[in-house]
Amino acid sequence: MIASANQNAPFESGRPLLIENVRVVDPARNLDTHGAVLVADGKIVAAGPEVLNQGAPDGAERIDGKGLTLIPGLVDARVFIGEPGGEHLETIRTASLAAAAGGVTSIVTMPDTHPVIDDVAIAEFVMRTARDTAVVNVFPAAAMTRGLEGKEMTEIGLLKDAGVVAFTDGRHTISDPALLRRIMTYARDHGALVMHSTQDLQLTGRGVMNEGLFASWLGLPGAPAEAEIIPLERDLRLAGLTACRYHAAEVSLAESADVVRAAKRRGVKASAGVSINHLSLNENDIGEYRTYFRLSPPLRHEDDRMAIVEALKDGTIDIVHSAHDPQDADRKRRPFAEAESGAIGLETLLAAALRLHFSNDVPLMRLIETMTSAPARLLGIDRGTLIAGRPADFTLVDLDEPFLFDETMIRSKSKNTVFENARFQGRVMQTFVAGRRVYDAAATTEAEA
């Protein structure tokens, strides 16, 4: 891969890049047109139908985009990485390679690491490691409470000044509502974004999948829907009270979407996210105890899946993320209730999401928006669009190209995908970060090593 060979070298600014004869989709401008994209100095110069009115600039590297669609690089707001502390599962570098292959150019890393990202020094370590090793942009999120213990507030101001884009306890849900209220109030003063997972630990109990008939036949303890809905409603009430920028990180139920819809109608500054897994799969995919499908929140009923797809379409749910969560085989090859939860997803986020476009459930423009400009706006980063002057993060997709996703394609260090041998349509051909090619489907795998 080109970028990895010379990634510390300064960008070769002399030579512009022109992608012509391409379909350009830029949701931030509601643009879907045939045209071209011109890049110079790592930034977008122009993107749209009239780029070539003055003719191509001299000496530009030209890419013929015939048959391809150029979209802004995806912004994935929920990515778990093993670095620091779990490098055998995933490093920042391997995650970034997986992201590039999936057309994801910006990732927000969760603080669930060892040590926890709850301190400026550790956040800086992540940013430094990303700068030195990653091929995509890495934006750390930091913990809201020290050690993710749900007891003491972290240094939200200092962390934000250091470059942290959001505050979250990752997989954890803060159970103390008074503490959460104070964190939200304090975060508001700093204009900080609070992203919270809403799964009530006590009500979930030993639950390892969606409570209901299917779990009962399998003899597995279930987590009731209310374990998600109650803390979500609580959080949204507190967000209203504190006027904090609040993001419900993991919405997986029809009723959760209703709760978010109602809060937005009341004027609460809230947003919501859903993982591609919950848009694509339901509890029946667990089949006979397939542990790769053990997720948190658990996969739900098909009725819930359909309702959250609808909520994504109508804007109740704002963003789609991968919830990329690498786990090694040893942690998954166990009885279902003893296996770790989580699935990788950076490489399949776009391909799986495109299924919703091809099934006519969500229009392409809206779908791309939920993975580009919407999360970028939420996080306050200047990515996710092809507006002139922005960093040239984009991906070239062949929407007509079908492919089978098999294990040999996985670039992530961990192989716990829920899409093994899935048939997709819409393949990432090339990915660019700041004008630099970081993934090329035509290149051999050796070049990436």
Partner: protein, 316 residues
């Protein structure tokens, strides 16, 4: 028992789920033959001479393990018991590693009990021999359901569609209840569950059973009353308020049993909590077939082991 044109050609018995009624009846018929063998003075056969059976129990069990051991020995197999207390599982070995290790010892059949639902099926994917589920978490316990059916059939005949079977007690945590609900429905019986709602799983109304919360009403017209064990840690405030309250409403005593048919069978998978889910005089009374269940357990397990090993071909 040796030569049977088998209508059961599976390698494993992991649950009742998915079995055809003909397969269930086939196993029950073979178990009847085993009953006769077990009642002879010389109980030992050479059906499985030279074969190796390993009982792998990750969860403590005296009765079931003994039953499988006797079953294997009466068939002539070499039986080895491996319980968690003296295995390397406690040293951190994973289930898969244990399976691979045992598999390398070339057993012909593994009898496995595990505290996690699905664990036995997982293990069966990693071994070359037959596997019998001797209970996995709250999922299934197929040989218990088969022995219950055999006991019922011997008293009530094979027309299960005319029978009303009432399952009482902690259905939520019971693999016995799940396997029995599946099996009795497969054979066409009418199944009713009687329990407080805190001891019923979500979605029970879609599991092919009637649900009654009043025991007297629930026992009406019952041909069979199956009691389930209530574990001690669940009876003191967690799922029901107290033992005495539970016994008052859901314990089987003479007064409540009088609401069932006069010739109703009383069953219990054991071990019993006398005075909790069942009164002593009922457990030992004329309608009780609890000891017969234990006898049928050996017969059913002989039938299952012989049938499964029969599938994997003759002597090696």
């Amino acid at each position: 028992m040796i030569s049977s044109a088998s209508s059961f050609d599976r390698r494993h018995l992991l649950g009742i789920n998915g079995l055809q009624p003909t397969e269930i009846v086939h196993l029950l018929d073979r178990a009847e033959e085993a009953v006769a063998v077990s009642r002879r003075p010389d109980k030992k056969t050479s059906v499985l001479k030279g074969r190796t059976q390993i009982n792998l129990f990750f969860e403590a069990s005296t009765r079931t393990q003994a039953s499988f051991e006797i079953a294997g020995k009466r068939l002539g197999a070499d039986v080895m018991n491996m319980s968690v207390a003296n295995s390397s599982v406690k040293k951190g070995e994973t289930l898969i590693d244990t399976a691979m290790t045992l598999n390398a010892m070339q057993p012909d059949i593994l009898i496995v009990r595990h505290h996690a639902a699905g664990a036995v099926a997982l293990l069966s994917q990693k071994v070359a021999c037959s596997v019998v589920n001797a209970g996995d978490g709250q999922h299934e316990h197929p040989t218990q359901a088969l022995l219950d059916a055999l006991t019922i059939r011997r008293h009530k005949g094979s027309e299960f569609q005319h029978l009303t079977v009432v399952i009482c007690g902690d259905v939520l945590h019971s693999r016995v209840a799940r396997s029995n609900i599946l099996l009795l429905n497969a054979l066409g019986a009418r199944v009713r569950v009687v329990a407080p709602s805190t001891l019923l799983p979500r979605g029970i109304e879609q599991m092919g059973v009637e649900i009654v919360h009043d025991m007297r009403e629930g026992l009406k017209d019952a041909d069979v009353v199956m009691m389930l064990r209530l574990q001690r840690e669940r009876m003191e405030g967690a799922f029901v308020p107290s033992v005495r309250e539970y016994f008052r409403y859901f314990g089987l005593d003479a007064e409540k049993l009088a609401h069932a048919k006069p010739d109703a069978l009383v069953m219990h998978p054991g071990p019993m909590n006398r005075g909790v889910e069942i009164a002593s005089d009922i457990a030992d009374g004329p309608q009780s077939v609890i000891e017969e269940q234990v006898e049928m357990g050996v017969a059913v397990r002989m039938a299952v082991i012989a049938t499964l090993i029969g599938q994997t071909g003759g002597p090696r």
